[in-house]
Amino acid sequence: MAEQDWKQQKRPFAAVATVPLFWTLIFFLIPMGFVWFYSFGRNVGLTEIDIVGTLDNYKRATEWLYLGIFLKSLAVAALVTLICLIVGFPVAMAITFASEKWRPWLLLGIMLPFWTNLLIRTYALMIVMGQQGYANSGLGALWNGASWLKTLVGLQPLSTWEPLPLLYNNFAVVVGLVYVHLPFMVLPLYSALDRLDKSLIEASLDLGAGHLKTLFKVVVPLAAPGIIAGVMITLIPALGAYLTPDLMGGTDSQMIANVIERQFKRANDWPFGAALSFLLIYVMFALIAMQGLRKKTGEVR
């Protein structure tokens, strides 16, 4: 595609470039710049902040307490991504190989939650997972059923059902994040699988490989770009998740975004919050750089 040098068409260039460039500068770079400067600052008084060029905030952010929260956030995000991948891959396969009649409906089924308000979805999940919610009563019914079966064969019944604390703990955070991010994973997986030449799968079967072997030797390597895209699209927002751990988590399940929020809204320690924010951004950059590196080495091969 022949691009034109902006100098040859200054007026059309100015017409399309001015507004986006200024918007990005004023309403993105400058706000981010403020945060960056504050991260080297110090609180003086209640609202006054001095930019003194100190690294104290970063030092504090890398203390074991906060480093631990960072690592935990990474672990939770990684676990959520892994679950989404394992749960989502067969769904993407099913959509790819569904009949023409079913495919649009399955896609719609995945897309609709994607378009539904995040807060409503989280809140809906909380209703189901509550102490007296349907998840618990469903499990309770299973428990009682099992107990009844045991008495039927003449064994001691199980102890009475105690509702499980499904909400307000780390388990709830993981379930909540999976619930929210699953559609993000399925869609890129689907578009990668859909692009895959089906005769490659047939060729593998034809040469004697079973379905599992074909999956790991042909489908997964060829769908790798889609898998990586799905992983990134899930991992990055999960790492910075605020809402789910805040609403569904317990006292011990705060993630890094919750700590950042506290610095700004409650603890009123903006410089420290700013430093944490930028550390989070640097981690994102590192993740994306890793992906870029992978892509590069893939191309060289």
Binding site: D197, L200, A203, L207, A209
Partner: protein, 373 residues
């Protein structure tokens, strides 16, 4: 007599309500170069994919080497396939592609390497082991696909439109190479194609498929010279077809009166009741063309046919010079159009004829074919 390597018994495949393959029965013998020929959408590829195991027949049975394949998945069948898109694994080198099936079969490293090398040499790709597929031309990728299948030493090699993606020159070359290769390895080849030239040049036998049914099963020359019906006559090669009535029907001779063409005499008997409506098929290259008024055509025709038979007059309405032959579109005196081809035996041959020339033509009594359907 040996048992057929593939037996297709009353196989029907329906997609929804449409029968892609309709009650087909075929026997393919070991060592054959068998071609399934037909227009696109006729069901030939579906038939091939059922042999490979990628489609399940709605009814009927497929036996390979005497074994019923109904419950055998593709990865357990003693056949291998070369796909239309070649389906060379883009993330594996040439050697890894060819070794893929052997690795899965658990063939040891040493033997594997020998067999891969052997297979690559066979398809003339020695030295390309470490190339990636995206660094190769379409023709080379096809050879990789061939080697990948041949290395498995299948009982039958299935080829789906193997030459359709190649350019004309390469296609002609590969036709010969495939035939040679088949000779060399002695494996049964079953090929699907819509290209009659390809089918005629490579096949030992051809099944012409039309609308899911076998229209004719014959050797290439029989198919061309003795087509069984109008579909085959028209699909294989080019042909002039005229409607007529059977007026003489004897064991050693026959004649058809065609309003469009005139009286056609044959020096052999045909099946069909006297007075039946039939069709006469006459190939363009089987007619002799003369400048009218010299009486040669009449004379020549008289040699093996009664007077007034196997002879027609007309006017040249179109000509296309194709190098080796010139093709004439001639409007007969009856008003019907006929195509006649004429070899350009010498350099200035075609100059004898030009637009609007009055011409006459004759043909020998063994040239026309009488078709009942």
């Amino acid at each position: 007599m040996t048992e057929p390597i593939i037996q297709i018994r009353n196989v029907t495949k329906r997609f929804g309500k449409v029968a892609a393959v309709d009650n087909v029965s075929l026997d393919i013998m070991a060592g054959e170069f068998f071609v399934l020929l037909g227009p696109s959408g006729c069901g030939k590829t579906t038939l091939l994919r059922m042999i490979a195991g990628f489609e399940v027949p709605t009814e009927g049975q497929i036996l390979i080497d005497g074994q019923d394949m109904s419950r055998v998945p593709p990865n357990k069948r003693p056949v291998n396939m070369v796909f239309q898109s070649y389906a060379v694994f883009p993330h594996m080198s040439v050697a890894d592609n060819v070794a893929y099936g052997l690795k899965i079969a658990g063939v040891g490293r040493g033997e594997r390497e020998d067999r891969v090398r052997e297979a690559l040499d066979l398809v003339k790709l020695g030295g390309f082991e470490d190339r990636m597929p995206d660094q190769m031309s379409g023709g080379q990728r096809q050879r990789v696909a061939l080697a990948r299948s041949l290395v498995m030493r299948p009982k039958v090699l299935l080829l789906d439109e193997p030459l359709s993606a190649l350019d004309a020159k390469l296609r002609a070359q590969m036709q010969f190479e495939l035939a040679d290769l088949q000779d060399e390895v002695g494996i049964t080849f079953v090929t699907v194609t819509h290209d009659q030239d390809e089918a005629l040049s490579m096949a030992s036998r051809i099944a012409v498929i039309n609308k899911g049914e076998v229209a004719q099963l014959a050797t290439p020359s029989d198919l061309y010279e003795y087509p069984a019906n109008r579909f085959v006559a028209d699909f294989v090669g080019s042909v002039n077809i005229f409607e007529g009535k059977l007026i003489i029907d004897e064991p050693d001779k026959a004649a058809v009166d065609c309003p469009g063409l005139g009286k056609v005499y044959l020096n052999h008997g045909v099946t069909g009741p006297h007075g039946a409506d039939v069709w006469v098929a006459l190939r363009p290259e089987k007619m002799y063309l003369h400048v009218q008024g010299k009486g040669k055509a009449v004379e020549a025709a008289a040699k093996d046919a009664p007077e007034g038979h196997n002879f027609a007059r007309g006017q040249i309405k179109g000509m296309s010079y194709l190098g080796d032959i010139t093709l004439f579109e001639i409007k007969l005196d009856s008003g019907a159009m006929i195509r006649v081809s004429r070899p350009n035996l010498s350099r200035h041959d075609q100059e004898d004829f030009t637009w609007d020339d009055k011409v006459s033509m004759h043909w020998r009594a063994d040239s026309p074919v009488v078709l009942l359907g």
